[in-house]
């Protein structure tokens, strides 16, 4: 088990290192001068020169990479060009929101998808199955952005049940939760559509197997067989997809946070790219990569928990 963990951790670090090189090169080679973005087009060349020196942009490329990556290893992500505050602080103040959004969206996705997938599989070739398939088709086709606007128009503008966006802060948990409802639903509906289909087809495969017939023959109720015997065996492909979807959800927050004007990491990365805030973008891309790799790491552990046959391989 320890060897397994060690191998996976090394893999994780190697991936992050590769990501760091790529994002550094891309950000520093892309056209666009952070100094001009900050000072504007009416600024004088001497003011620009002073700022360029202050931001350390005159050093050679390799030096800048090494200084940066050494800082990251210590936990120092540098100081943002545009905000003028430590990047680590910027990330820390926004991370809880984005993570909450991503986790709650994933949770909602899983709950919805399992319920719909099991329902569809157990009503195979009947109206229920057909209904879920059509709904999920719609869900996959609909872009999250557009769906968000519709949800806002209905629930915020028309019904005034929920706020159209913004985040009131964590000090009032009820208001905070209300502010996250629509973004979570917008993210989850689209992902749930995909996952429901995967669940359904995986369930159908397991339903065909002999042991299902046996379980039913021994007199267990349909519902018990579905949930206690068929579903656990159908979960491996579902868990794989959830792992991939977590990555989609995390990057999906970039769009959703802009539509709902939430102060999260997604909004920050959008702003930082426009502002050519090199250090912030680099740190955020690394952060997103780290979240995705960690999620897949967790998925790997989950496999072992779900499928006892795999436990033996690790020992």
């Amino acid at each position: 088990m320890l060897l397994f963990l060690a191998k996976r951790t090394t893999g994780l670090l190697a991936t992050l290192l590769a990501v760091s090189v790529v994002v550094f090169l891309v950000m520093n080679v892309l056209p666009g001068d952070p100094v001009l973005v900050i000072l504007g087009i009416d600024s004088t060349p001497d003011a620009q020169a002073v700022l360029r020196e202050q931001l350390g942009l005159n050093a050679p490329l390799l030096d800048r990479y090494l200084i940066w990556i050494a800082g990251v290893a210590r936990g120092d992500f540098g100081t943002s060009h545009s905000f003028g505050v430590p990047v680590a602080g910027l990330i820390a103040e926004r991370l809880p929101l984005t993570l909450s959004l991503a986790l709650s969206a994933t949770l909602l996705t899983v709950v919805l998808a399992l319920a719909l997938g099991v329902f569809a599989a157990s009503n195979h070739r009947k109206a229920g199955d057909w209904g879920v398939m059509t709904l999920s088709q719609l869900g996959i086709a609909v872009p999250a952005f557009w769906l968000s606007m519709l949800l806002v128009l209905l629930f915020a503008v028309r019904l005034r049940w929920l706020p159209p966006g913004g985040f009131p802060g964590w000090s009032d948990p009820a208001a905070a939760a209300r502010a996250l409802v629509l973004p979570t639903v917008a993210l989850a509906l689209v992902q749930a559509a995909v996952l429901a289909r995967v669940t359904r087809s995986s369930m159908l495969e397991v339903l065909r197997l002999d042991f299902t017939r046996t379980a039913l023959a021994t007199g267990l109720s349909r519902s018990r067989v579905l949930w206690r015997h068929v579903l656990p065996n159908a979960l491996v492909p579902v868990v794989t997809i959830v792992g991939m979807q977590f990555a989609n959800v995390v990057t999906g927050t970039i769009v959703i946070e802009n539509v709902f004007y939430l102060p999260g990491l997604g909004r920050l990365i959008f702003q930082a790219i426009s502002n050519r805030d090199l250090l912030t973008v680099q740190a955020l891309v690394l952060m997103f990569a780290a979240i995705v790799v960690t999620a897949n790491f967790v998925v790997d552990i989950l496999y072992v928990l779900i499928d006892p046959r795999l436990r033996g391989r690790l020992a």
Partner: protein
């Protein structure tokens, strides 16, 4: 009902009516499109910093009215020497910064020295260029000595870049701005909102109705629209989407204000690159443009056409839109004369602003009629700054110039992204910026406009409108933006 009951009843009613004060709100939520990354207007050019903080949190020596007139602010009065080289400012007394420290002439000297110094990162350093020395005469008097006369000095000193700061608080200005204005900074949640609270010790505090101002940063027009309609926003003074104005005009809760700004939208041609160095080609392209179609298509009819580089609301404005009538035949003629073959390919690189991207498509079609094959390239802002602005790597582009009094751009020489250098115009601009008599200056400005139009330096398209959506009960918002700031001291809720 007996007579006495009726009298008692009506007296009670009257009492109740007068006893209830008119309910007045003292808080307002304003939507802003662009969130700044720093809150120091003296080291960052982002327009929204000025829009929120200039003349609200910070004050300057002078200020400007909605009509563009210079009025006193921290300088109570001033005198200018006959040669226009010495300005003596008499400062307000008893003013304090929000941290309690007192304001005096030393703070003014500090502000100017910092902006003009070698290590300065002031985005509008050029407005301080004519100032040779700043001297403190006494605690309430400051003298500015100029190296040359500057007609625009008093106007420029009202800009956010010339906000008066104090040495005690300037270090943290990027995150905690401290000024002398009627509102003090009360918190900033990055990505979300910025809050201001009334500063009770301000000299005009009694006239300020708002106790709390919240700026909510919403970039997406659809989200902004939803926020206004669901009444979580009270005003959005710089609404970015002209196509959505109709629904607010029809809604009885809102009033829509369409005003003017200092933003001239031009289709810039790279005057340093063939064939745009040939005046016939530039004139041909000017003839091929149909401003009305561009305004209708890109701005939904909500903009004023311009024929030169000066805002229509300005005092010295001359309507030169008829200089090059929409005449495709004449355009083809001129292109043939200049040796530009039919089907010549040109690129039109546009930054990601709706006014630019939408206009580009229309212009592409219009120039195609004249036989030019225009390729539209949508580029990102950082790319535009690097490739077009810095390296002059472009044929044509569309951009809005939002600074006031910026006709001097055409005197900045060949290295400026216009690629334009005409000694005659440079001499004219020198005369304009040193002319102290306003009437003479206006006459020169008219000459300047005519010059640029005749030279057809660029395709002058339209003046960027300011679209404001404001709740009907609110008053005090400026309709037009002669400058980048919006003073909030006079904003009130009515009934």
């Amino acid at each position: 009902m007996t007579r006495s009951t009726a009298i008692a009843g009506s007296m009670l009613g009257a009492l109740l009516l007068t006893a209830f004060p008119a309910w007045s709100k003292t808080a307002i939520v304003i939507g802003m499109q662009q969130e700044p990354t720093s809150l120091d207007p003296t080291s960052d050019a982002t327009a929204s910093i000025d829009g929120m903080l200039a003349h609200n949190v910070f004050e300057a020596l002078t200020s400007v009215t909605e009509q563009g007139e210079v009025v006193p602010e921290l300088a109570r009065s001033w005198t200018v020497s006959d040669d226009g080289l010495t300005y003596t400012f008499d400062l307000q007394q008893g003013v304090t910064f929000h941290d309690g420290s007192a304001f005096d002439a030393a703070d003014v000297k500090f502000t100017f020295d910092r902006a003009m110094g070698a290590g300065s990162v002031n985005p509008s350093k050029s407005i301080f260029e004519p100032i040779a020395a700043v001297t403190v005469i006494d605690a309430a008097t400051v003298e500015l000595k100029l190296s040359r006369p500057d007609a625009f000095l008093l106007f420029n000193l009202a800009q956010g870049d010339a906000s008066i700061v104090a040495p005690e608080s300037v270090e943290l200005a990027k995150t905690t701005p401290v000024g002398t204005g009627p509102f003090r900074f009360d918190g900033w949640t990055r990505g979300d909102r910025l809050t201001l609270a009334k500063y009770p010790a301000h000299r005009d505090a009694a006239a300020v109705q708002m106790e709390k101002v919240t700026f909510q940063f919403i970039a997406d027009p659809a989200s902004a629209s939803a926020a206004l309609l669901s009444e979580t926003l009270d005003a959005y003074p710089g609404f970015p989407a002209p196509e959505m104005m109709a629904q607010f005009e029809a809604d009885p809760r809102f009033s829509v204000e369409i005003g003017s700004t200092e933003g001239e939208v031009i289709m810039a041609m790279n005057n340093a690159k063939a064939p745009f160095d040939d005046i016939r080609v530039r004139r041909a392209i000017s003839h091929a443009l149909d401003r009305k179609a561009i305004i209708d298509g890109a701005m939904y009819g909500q903009a004023t056409p311009i024929g030169s580089f000066y805002p229509p609301h300005g005092k010295a404005y001359v309507d030169l839109t008829a200089t090059y009538s929409h005449d495709v035949a004449r355009a083809k003629e001129l292109l043939k004369e200049a040796g530009v073959a039919e089907g010549t390919v040109m690129t039109l690189r546009v930054p990601p602003f709706p006014y630019a991207t939408r206009s580009a498509e229309i212009i592409q079609a219009q120039l195609a009629e004249a036989g030019l094959d225009v390729k539209v390239e949508n580029v990102e802002w950082g790319f535009w700054l690097e490739e077009i602005y810095k390296k002059l790597n472009y044929d044509m582009t569309i951009i809005a110039h939002t600074s006031p009094n910026d006709m001097g751009n055409f005197a900045r020489g060949k290295s400026y992204f216009y690629g334009y250098d005409n000694p005659e115009f440079t001499a004219l601009w020198d005369r304009i910026r040193t002319e102290a008599d306003p009437e003479a200056r206006d006459a020169l400005l008219k000459q300047g406009q005519a010059f640029l139009a005749t030279e057809a330096v660029h395709g002058f398209l339209f003046q960027l409108p300011k679209l404001g959506v404001v709740r009907k009960e609110l008053s005090g918002f400026w309709k037009s933006s002669p400058v980048l700031f919006q003073p909030l001291a006079q904003v009130k809720w009515n009934g």
